[in-house]
């Protein structure tokens, strides 16, 4: 056992941000104890750090998975709608998609920050929601194109922005996820402070 062994400081700070304040010491203490007593002596420093980071991402994933799944489903649903019900006027669809995405990212960030009291938790939730959503959306779009890859489908895809938009737009949403996460996080943390005073 190495009592001096220390997990990555950034990962521990990130974990504290997503936890409720009341759990900060006990949960980081549990992970530190496991890291020092069981993981570090057996796996060595690099793999122990990787284990710690994976545990922290597990906490983040649990907080963001519902919103990320909804976010990804919204993107994949839009791709499917454009394929199944082609149109030339994308204004309404684009507006609904945009407002839905913004609402999901803001909600995820607001709730995470209100729970933890940390505005950084909102930012983390925004990025995590957008990242999970991007993975689901790209996976969904790939599956749809694997099923329907006829010229009619590609014409519909081209009309709605092309393959670049189908595969790149979800990845680009990580930046709005960060920005909306900051706003949602500030609001959530403010509400928590107001409720506790």
């Amino acid at each position: 056992m190495s009592i001096e062994a220390t997990p990555p400081a950034w990962a521990e700070a990130l974990l504290r941000d997503v936890l409720q304040p009341i759990d900060g010491d006990s949960v980081t203490g549990d992970l530190l104890e496991e890291y020092r007593e069981s993981i570090h002596p057996v796996r060595g420093p690099w793999r122990a750090d990787a284990w710690y980071v994976a545990q922290v991402f597990g906490f983040v994933w649990r907080d963001a998975r519902l919103w990320g799944t909804l976010f990804g489903a919204a993107f994949a649903g839009r791709t499917a709608l454009d394929r199944l019900v082609p149109t030339t006027d994308f204004y309404i669809r684009a507006s609904v998609s945009t407002y839905l995405g913004v609402t999901l990212l803001l909600t995820a960030a607001f709730l995470a920050a209100r729970r933890s009291g940390s505005s950084a938790a909102g930012m983390i939730a925004g990025v995590a929601t957008a990242s999970i959503g991007a993975a689901i959306s790209i996976g969904g779009a790939t599956a749809l194109l694997a099923i329907w890859h006829d010229p009619q489908t590609f014409a519909a895809v081209r009309a709605s922005g092309g393959l670049g938009e189908v595969f790149m737009l979800p990845l680009l949403m990580v930046l709005p996820g960060l920005i909306l996460g900051i706003f949602g996080g500030l609001a959530g943390a403010a509400v928590r402070r107001l409720r506790s005073t």
Binding site: D23, S26, D30, E37, F59
Partner: protein
């Protein structure tokens, strides 16, 4: 009838029963891993403990820290009457499902 428990919730509650006064986060995690014979994420156990406490099936209190934890407090858990009822109901439901059958089942695999 008490809350219907999922398999993982039962594993966590039974770990608390087995560990008795020593039921804190890391000990519960290790006990669950040992019983389920697989790696379990700390976040999964923490989320389950939080949910069970919210449902008032368990209660928690903070204890003292140790040097290996850099002095950070341990959160100890204990079963509440609702948790005992929920575990008993879960066991009764499984017993009722298996009633009249021999275990392990033979000739079907």
């Amino acid at each position: 009838m008490a809350d219907t428990l999922g398999a993982f919730e039962q594993a966590v509650l039974l770990a608390i029963v087995r560990l008795d006064d020593g039921a804190y986060g890391r000990a519960i995690l290790k006990e669950v891993q040992e019983r389920l014979e697989r790696d379990v994420a700390a976040g999964a156990v923490h989320a389950t403990l939080e949910r069970l406490e919210h449902k008032k099936l368990i209660a928690s209190r903070l204890g003292s820290g140790t040097p290996v934890r850099s002095g950070r407090a341990r959160r100890f858990y204990r079963l509440q009457p609702g948790g005992v009822r929920a575990l008993n109901d879960a066991r009764a439901a499984v017993n009722a499902l298996w009633h009249g059958l021999e275990w392990p089942l033979k000739g079907l695999a």
